[in-house]
Amino acid sequence: MSATAETKDRVAELAGAYKHGWSTDIESVFAPKGLNEDIVRYISEKQNEPEWLLEWRLKAFAMWQKLEEPDWAMLNYPPIDYQDIYYYAAPKTKEGPNSLDEVDPELLRTYEKLGIPIAEQAVLAGVKGAPKVAVDAVFDSVSVATTYREELKRVGVVFMSISEAVHEHPELVKKYLGTVVPQRDNYFATLNCAVFSDGTFVYIPKGVRCPMELSTYFRINAENTGQFERTLIIADEGSYVSYLEGCTAPMRDENQLHAAVVELIALDDAEIKYSTVQNWYPGDKDGKGGIYNFVTKRGLCRGRNSKISWTQVETGSAITWKYPSCILEGDGSVGEFYSVAVTNNRQQADTGTKMIHIGKNTRSKIISKGISAGHSSNTYRGLVRVLGGADDVRNFTQCDSLLLGDTCAAHTVPYIEVRNPTAQIEHEATTSKISDDQMFYCMARGLDPEEAVAIVVNGYAKEVLRELPMEFAVEAQALLGISLEGSVG
């Protein structure tokens, strides 16, 4: 069965199962604005969730009401009115353009530069009626998707939406959900626990090397899950998986607040590679609009010699608050963080990582490349913590900032807490600008100013970009250039 057909069947099946039904009238499927226990119950009921999960959500909601929004990040934004937000499937289908002719030409120009096919452009731009094409267009062909599904099934890899997993693999979800990012972890994570809409669930069985990069592209039901996404990836002993999240194309999205939670668990000798390209709407030149992105991403290297590697290319969102972290519990485990964060115009990013060394002989590596332009602010905030029992830990941190123009800001806030004298911690940091000489050299060879900036910036970010899987890397390079348009000249 093709993935599309399977989706349709699944939707039809679910629609018959409860009263609100969502296949008959998609536009009506949204809860009213605001958040209270009833909304949490509504969301849970919509997903036809078991009682334990509803209880789990309600517990989180009770916690959240007592928590205060953090204000320590180097970010400035007006207070968020949490009662003025839709928490379930905002009615964006109503407001979508009827055809590509109605879509902002700027957006289309960007798509064109990224080399995105027309059919896919329509999906990304939120054109009415396009989502059905979506799956097929994004897949290139349904048969490719089917082949992938079958191949994954053959090796026992579970790759589905988390709402499906709750029903099909309740024991796994129950066992691991909230074990890396506890319900009480932080304001935004707790909110996510209460209202998460959907997300991805991956389980790689013992000893299996996942035969392909898993991408949200290949997961059905990927629409409408962006706002309070929940991802749970478990790599069992000796397994390997590479997961790609996001998309280089700017997504049309009416939801301003995004608060996702991603939990990764690597058991003995397992490896998880998690790559993100985030390009949500950053707001206009004057800072109007744009997504507020408050994400909690954390990986737990629970097993011996396990490895978790985060690679992120962050170019979108008006506000980015994000610290993909690794808890290195298993002896000999390895955590890596490779990041390129671009801010332009009025964007603000406060991003970095946490490496918590608990096990012996654990190693971590942090490569962070910040790029600031326009009137933006870009902060690296990183914590390297070595606990007392963690002998022979090694960490290497490299933290570079590149400034374009003289109205932007770059900050570096490293925290290093070492409680074991055998640890070797290295921290390097640089701040640089693109020199006039570099610009002129590139232009004298035929590049226009924007192309010149793009090539220099891509060179600067190369150490991170090369960590991305091939298909992402090429698009990410184009994206860096596009994100910095208008920052020179």
């Binding site: 232009m443 060879r445 226009d448």
Partner: protein, 248 residues
Amino acid sequence: MTQMLDIKNLHVAIEDGTILKGLDLKIKPGEVHAIMGPNGSGKSTLAATLAGNPAYEVTKGKVTYLGEDLLALEPHERAAKGVFLGFQYPVEIPGVSNLNFLRTTLNAQRRLRGEEPLDGATFMKLAREKAEKLGVSMDMMKRSVNVGFSGGEKKRNEMVQMAVIDPKLAILDETDSGLDIDALKVVSDGINALRGADRAILLITHYQRLLDYVKPDHVHVLDDGRITRSGGPELARELEEKGYQAVA
């Protein structure tokens, strides 16, 4: 024959003052010109101005290139129309391989000219062929642009770029400086390979040495922002023997 490059009464200033003070020069297709002069005479200013470096301000005068007002064009537009500047101090671009840089710039030029970009295989063949001729290994072509290169390697790299880009007007700013005799021969071969009926070369040099290998049709002496003498190859030898002071 019409001029390829026609410089009339060129005055150029930088922040610190006026460098070129009424320079005139005509170059026809097929010709090789050498401009010689002491330090501070304005040689590099002329090169930078022709390539469009924004740090140099043209305060007076006119430059016509292939019938067009060269000064009205942006540096990348000049490049696409066939103007190539070989840098005296080639610039480092960390993280960008020579091959990537060369392919990106070549295709940017082709796009500006309305030509199709070269595909990967065709480009690689071209780059390999040109690099080999100039004694540049493919390993070096994969390294970041000019990063950690010796002075000689940087100049050879400029010549590889020139050979691949195949310009109409090559302006070579002290390409011979910092080269040992073997490298000088290789670089000279590269320059000679570019000679042709529809192309021109402007050599800017401090020493006569390069002119033993690349025979110029015309030699000019630049002094205090003006061309004070012009002649054939014999002028270069005279300069070498008597010094700039006596000749200029």
